[in-house]
Amino acid sequence: MRRCGIVVVLATACVLLLAGPMAQGSSAPAGAAEWAKIEQAAEQQERVVLYLSIAGVEARMKAEFRKAYPKLQLDVIRQPTGELISRLDAERQASASGADVVFHTDRGWFDQVANHLVPATGPALSLYKGTKSAFAENRYFTSMLVPFSLAYNTQVLASLGVGVPTGWQDMLNPKFANGLVGLPERGSAPVTLQCYYAIAQTHGMGFFERLGKLKPRLYPSIGPTVQSVAAGANAVGFVQTAAPADLIKAGAPIKQMVPTNPSCYYGYFVAQVAWSKRPQAAQVLLNWVMSRAGQEAIHGWGYTASPLENIPGGLDVKPDKPLLDGILTPAQQEFGRQFDKMTR
């Protein structure tokens, strides 16, 4: 019995030793047998940690991942992208235990740390390899497409005698003065600032000057923005389509529309970090997120879109321009400073 245990430990150690370098050095999909060994090793690591910056999908991801890998616990740390990347970089520098897989919007960060990301090797790599959704030699991937939207509280609008918003310009309604417009801070995610910039490009800088005069309320991220709209603290809020989903389900008087003047679509990117302390578990999670099963689980609720085609239930997204990538130009950075002055 004891000998049997030793054999199992040795076999596991061999798998770990083999799988580690393979994950670091190769971007070819693993064979079925090899992948089975990685899955086995992952289950022995018991848990895997995902750093996530999108609100509203956490519970679904956990539930669906548990169905796929019942022996592997998915822990999710959710923070705004801006704060998440600071923590990630601190962990990277200290080689501290933390994230295994990251899922956020700042493509600039992924490019910057590409050498510290592990090329994917799971079976799902074949779905992305050579497509416009794979970056940095298969080190990170687009995993979600989301449009920014305008959430509104139906009861508050009714009490104010204001109609349903039809575009960004409806945030400027004078009846929304004194904090009835909710905005995420521009530093919460670079893509947020890029969308603000796109709105300013379309409507002119006067848009945010006028919005500033209404004294909008700024929140650390989209999460509290949408919650405040649901509570009735704000009449309208700048959010993304996935954010109000749970609140709508819970019966909150909240709806949303996707403005097209301009439309702001952005991507969430996913990668395995090289400083992960659970490399096989990280490989398994990354592969699951990229796989069709994972994409169906994540996007099947209808509020977000997959980069893969024909995902049942996924949001039907046809971006009319390139996705916002979170890489800020000098003009956008300067606009950010102006935005602070105008809205605070």
Binding site: A94, S97, L180, S221, G232, A233, A252
Partner: protein, 550 residues
């Protein structure tokens, strides 16, 4: 030469490393690179406004805290005799509510549009035309008021304690000679309380200038920053802006030193405030009937109201200004308590507090023993120990958190993302609080028993085990309870040293808050209140009502 090196000298080394080293490192970082940190600080947008907010918050909250705290102490002292013992505890009970939980509760009460209290106020005839307000929690005045509420409990403790020492004979004499209550207060009570008020105002100023919780939770939505929140933003930048954070902390360190010196100058010779008193207890037996009313109002405002709001939101499916009684339930409690992140935060809190307790209480015991002379030490050593254990009281917790992060996060120790760095911050912050109750107990015991033991051949360890520890067990128990409660409340330093994976309860609450998970925020806040109340109850069982005052 080494024979002169006593254990008391060796004791100073870890104390210096724990307390002084991070501050020295931080100060040196502020001036590194030709003062680049200060240049970055001056380049911050609205830095003038940030400094003005910091000073305004400190001054404003001190005024409110001194007025409320002193008023409450006077009211308790002048309440009818039969109610005085229990009514004296009421102003302390809101201290059970951690600041982070209290502020969250007030958000649910005073959010301009959906706040429960605001909605009630809009029912009044003169405000029923308003669609929001009349009060707005996300403003500087309310940040000051709520901070003042929090600090008034500390002022109350100092002033009440002073009043109990002074007695009430002089007030009684003034009243016998025809002075009105108001005149007695201004001509007799107030001058006698000057020392306590000045001292407590100094402590409140230091706490106010280092305030972090209310400005972070309330100020962020309107861009209202203070120095400590700017320091926090320096820690979440990449790379962490240590130079900027150190420069931002420098004025707070200087303010701490200045206030301590000013306090000393203002109070001067303590003996000037001594009253010859014999039977003060029965001198003011009657009291005024109206005195319990402001105390009850404070208890209601500072404790009951925010807690009620937290309970309502915790039971609601989502935060809403409209309470639907049929939808209330315990689902959020079940959800939070089954969340791995919440359980991990609870575990991290328990480990960090537990280990910090095991380090800081014995450390406090030895410091107290040295200062009372129970263990032999020269006057210089005693003075140095006194200085080192007092220093953390003069510095905002955010400063120590930032200093610990700077000193230990990177090489050579690389403690970022570990519980160890949280423990180091906790130990540093808790040294004064671990020493004080043990010092009081040891002073009441005296050093004669220890000397007798030694005279009769008892060695150092034997004296410690058989005499010192058993006699001081009450102080040890109270110090332990105090440390547990204060660390469970701790927020500012934890925010600086936590990583995404090493959250404690307070930082988890903030995590939920920034994620917009308001019912979960309320659940965590209530959990913190329950745990704190349990610790206070345990302290009361061990040390009686004096433990609560400690």
């Amino acid at each position: 030469m080494f024979s002169r090196l006593r254990s008391s000298h060796l004791f100073i080394i870890p104390l210096t490393v724990i307390v002084l080293w991070p501050l020295v490192m931080l100060a040196s970082r502020a001036f590194a690179d030709g003062g680049a940190g200060f240049r970055d600080m001056l380049a911050l947008p609205n830095i003038g406004q940030t400094v003005a907010h910091t000073i305004g918050l400190a001054m404003g909250s001190v005024i409110i805290a001194v007025l409320i705290g002193s008023g409450l102490a006077w009211c308790v002292s002048n309440s009818p005799q039969r109610t005085r013992s229990w009514i004296g505890l009421l102003p302390l009970l809101p201290l059970i509510v951690p600041a982070v939980a209290g502020v969250t509760g007030w958000i649910f009460l005073l959010e301009p549009r959906t706040g429960y209290l605001n909605q009630l106020l809009r029912q009044l005839p003169w405000w029923n035309h308003l669609l929001q307000g009349p009060l707005d929690i996300y403003t500087m005045p309310w940040i000051i008021i709520l901070t003042g509420f929090t600090l008034s409990g500390f002022v109350y403790l100092y002033v009440r304690s002073s009043m109990q020492t002074l007695g009430t004979e002089l007030e009684a004499a003034a009243r016998v000679h025809g002075a009105s209550p108001l005149r007695t207060f201004f001509t007799v009570t107030l001058p006698l309380m000057r020392a306590a008020i000045v001292y407590s105002a100094g402590v409140a100023f230091l706490l106010g200038i280092g305030q972090f919780t209310a400005p972070l939770l309330l100020g962020r939505t309107r861009g209202i920053n203070v120095l400590t929140t700017e320091m926090y933003y320096a820690t979440i930048a990449f790379p962490v802006k240590y130079g900027l954070g150190a420069a931002l902390g420098a004025p707070l360190i200087i303010a701490g030193i200045v206030v301590v010196v000013l306090q000393f100058l203002a109070i001067g010779e303590q003996s000037r405030y001594v009253v010859v008193t014999g039977q003060s207890r029965h001198a003011e037996a009657r009291g005024y009937w109206f005195c319990p009313l402001p105390i009850a109002a404070f208890f209601l405002l500072a404790g009951v109201l925010p807690l009620s709001a937290l309970v309502l939101v915790a039971l609601s499916p989502y935060w809403s200004g409209t309470i639907r009684w049929s939808t209330l339930g315990f689902e959020n409690f079940a959800k939070v308590l089954s969340e791995p992140n919440a359980l991990r935060a609870l575990r991290t809190s328990a480990i960090a507090i537990g280990v910090a307790l095991l380090i800081v209480v014995p450390l406090g015991f030895f410091a107290a023993a040295l200062m009372t002379g129970a263990f032999r030490a020269g006057p210089l050593v005693r003075r140095l120990v006194d200085f080192l254990i007092t220093l953390p009281l003069g510095m905002p917790a955010a400063i120590f958190g930032f200093a610990v992060l700077y000193t230990y996060a990177g090489p050579p120790l690389v403690l970022y993302g570990t519980i160890t760095i949280i423990i180091i911050a906790y130990v540093t912050l808790m040294i004064p609080h671990a020493v004080r109750p043990q010092l009081t107990t040891m002073m009441s015991i005296g050093k004669e028993y220890a000397e007798a033991s030694r005279v009769h051949g008892g060695g150092w360890w034997r004296t410690l085990g058989v005499i010192q520890i058993p006699l001081a067990r009450n102080g040890v128990a109270v110090a332990s309870a105090l440390v547990i409660v204060m660390l469970f409340h701790e927020f500012a330093a934890s925010m600086m040293v936590r990583a995404a994976h090493t959250q404690v309860m307070g930082t988890l609450l903030y995590e939920y808050y920034t994620g917009g998970l308001y019912p979960d925020v309320a659940v965590v806040a209530l959990l913190m209140v329950v745990v704190t109340a349990a610790c206070v109850f345990a302290a009361l069982l061990v040390g009686g009502t004096k433990a609560l005052e400690s």
